[in-house]
C-alpha cells in the first residue's frame, strides 16, 4: 500500500521541530528513522497530515557518558548505539537487547527514541528503559521536562507524550557496580518481535545475598512491566536457581497478556515464568563472576 497524503517539513533544530509541532499539533507526527511509522503509514493505519523530519538535526547520533549512566540522543540509530563502546561497556544488557531488534537493515535507520515512542509492549527498548530506570528528556515549544520511564508507557502504542512534545534524549542509568544481567526472549524467528521476554539485573552484597534486583517483562501486557513482586521476593535473600523457580511464580501478578495468532495468553504467562528464571540465573552468574 502507499501512504496517504502529507506535508513534509525538515526541522533544522530542536526548537524548530517544537515550533512546527505547536503549529500542527494533532495533525503532525515526528519522523526520525520511520521504521515503525512508515510501515504503519504504508498500511494507511497511520495517516498524519504533517511529518516533521528530525533525523538531520546536528549530529543525530550522540551517546555521552554521564555520572549515573549513558545518555542517548533520541535520534541515534539503533545500529550506532549497538556498536558504541561506552554503551557496550557500561550497559551490556542494553547492547544485547538492541541486537535483538529486527535486523541490521532496520537498525541502520531506526532510532532509539523512535522505538521508545512507538511503545510496542513486545519491543526491547521500552523494557530496557524500565530495567535501567531510564529518564526521558522531553521538550515542547513551551516546556522542558524529565519523565521517568515508568510514567511514560500508558498502554499499547500509547505514551504520555503530548502531541506538541518531542523526546529529546534518554538517560539509561547504570545498575550497581558488579551487578549481573540476563535477557531471554522467545521469538519464532531471529529478528521477530518477542512473544514473551524477560530481563533481569541482580547485584550481590558481601554475604552473597541479593542487594538489588530488577525484573522487567515484555510481551505480557499492554506495556512493558516491572515484576516488583518478584524483585521483592529476591532482595535480601541468598540466590540460587532453585530459589528463583519459586520467586518467578510471582510474575503472574503483572502478566496481563492477550492471545494472538502465535500463542495464547496462558502460554505467555507460563513462559514469562520460565524466561524469568533463566534471566535471573544468567544475572546471578554474571554477578558472581563480576564480584
Amino acid at each position: 500500500m502507499k501512504p496517504a497524503i502529507f506535508d513534509y517539513f525538515r526541522a533544522t533544530s530542536l526548537e524548530h521541530a517544537c515550533e512546527l509541532l505547536s503549529t500542527h499539533g494533532d495533525d503532525a507526527k515526528i519522523l526520525a528513522g520511520g521504521q515503525s511509522l512508515i510501515a504503519a503509514m504504508n498500511y494507511r493505519l497511520a495517516r498524519p497530515q504533517v511529518l516533521i523530519d528530525i533525523s538531520n538535526i546536528d549530529n543525530p547520533n550522540q551517546i555521552t557518558d554521564e555520572t549515573t549512566g549513558v545518555r542517548v540522543k533520541a535520534t541515534t540509530t539503533q545500529a550506532f548505539a549497538e556498536h558504541d563502546p561506552v554503551l557496550r561497556r557500561r550497559l551490556p544488557v542494553l547492547a544485547d537487547a538492541i541486537r535483538h531488534i529486527a535486523h541490521f537493515q532496520i537498525r541502520n535507520k531506526g532510532t532509539v527514541g523512535g522505538s521508545i515512542v512507538n511503545a510496542d509492549p513486545a519491543s526491547e527498548l521500552p523494557a530496557m528503559s524500565l530495567l535501567l530506570d531510564a529518564e526521558y528528556e522531553i521538550q515542547s515549544a513551551s516546556n522542558k521536562q524529565i519523565m521517568p520511564a515508568e510514567d511514560f508507557f500508558i498502554t499499547y502504542m500509547t505514551t504520555a507524550l503530548q502531541s506538541d512534545e518531542v523526546l529529546v534524549s534518554i538517560l539509561f542509568q547504570e545498575p550497581p557496580k558488579n551487578s549481573g544481567w540476563g535477557l531471554h526472549e522467545v521469538a519464532r524467528r531471529a529478528g521477530d518481535f518477542a512473544l514473551v521476554g524477560s530481563a533481569a539485573v541482580i547485584a550481590l552484597d558481601v554475604d552473597d545475598k541479593c542487594s538489588y534486583a530488577r525484573v522487567v517483562l515484555f510481551g505480557v501486557a499492554s506495556t512493558p512491566v516491572r515484576a516488583k513482586e518478584v524483585e521483592d521476593a529476591i532482595v535480601g535473600q541468598v540466590c540460587s536457581n532453585k530459589f528463583f523457580e519459586q520467586a518467578a511464580r510471582k510474575v503472574s501478578e503483572v502478566v496481563d497478556a492477550e492471545s494472538d495468532v502465535h500463542v495464547t495468553d496462558e502460554y505467555r504467562g507460563n513462559v514469562a515464568e520460565v524466561l524469568t528464571i533463566r534471566a535471573l540465573a544468567d544475572a546471578l552468574g554474571r554477578a558472581k563472576a563480576a564480584s
Partner: protein, 165 residues
C-alpha cells in the same frame, strides 16, 4: 492537496533533480522516477528485504524511507555493482554457486552482503545466516546463498581486496 517538493538525490554517483509528492517512497522514486528497476518491492513493510539499498554505505529498506529523507546521502543500488556488464566478484560468486532462482530477492541480498562482507571479511556460515536473516527468499532455502557468500568472501580475501563487491 500538497505541493510537490524539489529533490536532489545522489544515486550511484549521479545527481538527479526531480519534483515529487513528499509521500513518494524511496523505493518508488528509484524504480519509477529514475527507472532503476533493479531494486524490488516485496512487502512495503520492511520485512522481506527485497528493497534493500545502501545509504551512506549502510543497508536500509528503501520501502521504509521517504525519498526526501535520502537527500544529502549517497545511495547505492544493485545497478552500481557491475562494471559495464562485467559482474563484480560478489555477483560472480552468486552465479557460480546458484545463489538465486527467481532472482526477486537477489538485489536486496547483494546490497546487504556487500556491506556485511566489508565489515566481516571472514564470516562463518552461522554468521552469514544471521546476517541474511533480514532478507527473505522463498526459492532457494538459503543454502546456496550461504555458499555464494562464503565464496565471495574467499574470493575477496585471495585477491587481497576488502571491497570487492
Amino acid at each position: 492537496m500538497v505541493d510537490k517538493k524539489k529533490i536532489s538525490l545522489n544515486v550511484n554517483g549521479v545527481t538527479y533533480d526531480k519534483e515529487i509528492e513528499p509521500r513518494t517512497l524511496l523505493s518508488d522514486f528509484l524504480r519509477h522516477h529514475l527507472d532503476l528497476t533493479g531494486t524490488h518491492v516485496g512487502c512495503e513493510h520492511g520485512i522481506c528485504g527485497s528493497c534493500t539499498i545502501l545509504m551512506e554505505g549502510l543497508p536500509v529498506r528503501s520501502c521504509l524511507t521517504f525519498a526526501l529523507q535520502a537527500e544529502g546521502k549517497a545511495i547505492e543500488t544493485i545497478e552500481s555493482l557491475d562494471t559495464d556488464g562485467e559482474l563484480s566478484s560478489l555477483q560472480n560468486a552468486f552465479w557460480e554457486n546458484q545463489g538465486l532462482q527467481c532472482g526477486f530477492c537477489t538485489p536486496g541480498i547483494l546490497m546487504s552482503m556487500k556491506a556485511f562482507l566489508k565489515d566481516n571479511p571472514k564470516p562463518s556460515r552461522d554468521e552469514i545466516r544471521e546476517a541474511l536473516s533480514g532478507n527473505l527468499c522463498r526459492c532457494t532455502g538459503y543454502h546456496d546463498i550461504v555458499d555464494s557468500v562464503v565464496a565471495a568472501a574467499e574470493a575477496a580475501l585471495s585477491s587481497g581486496s576488502a571491497e570487492q563487491a
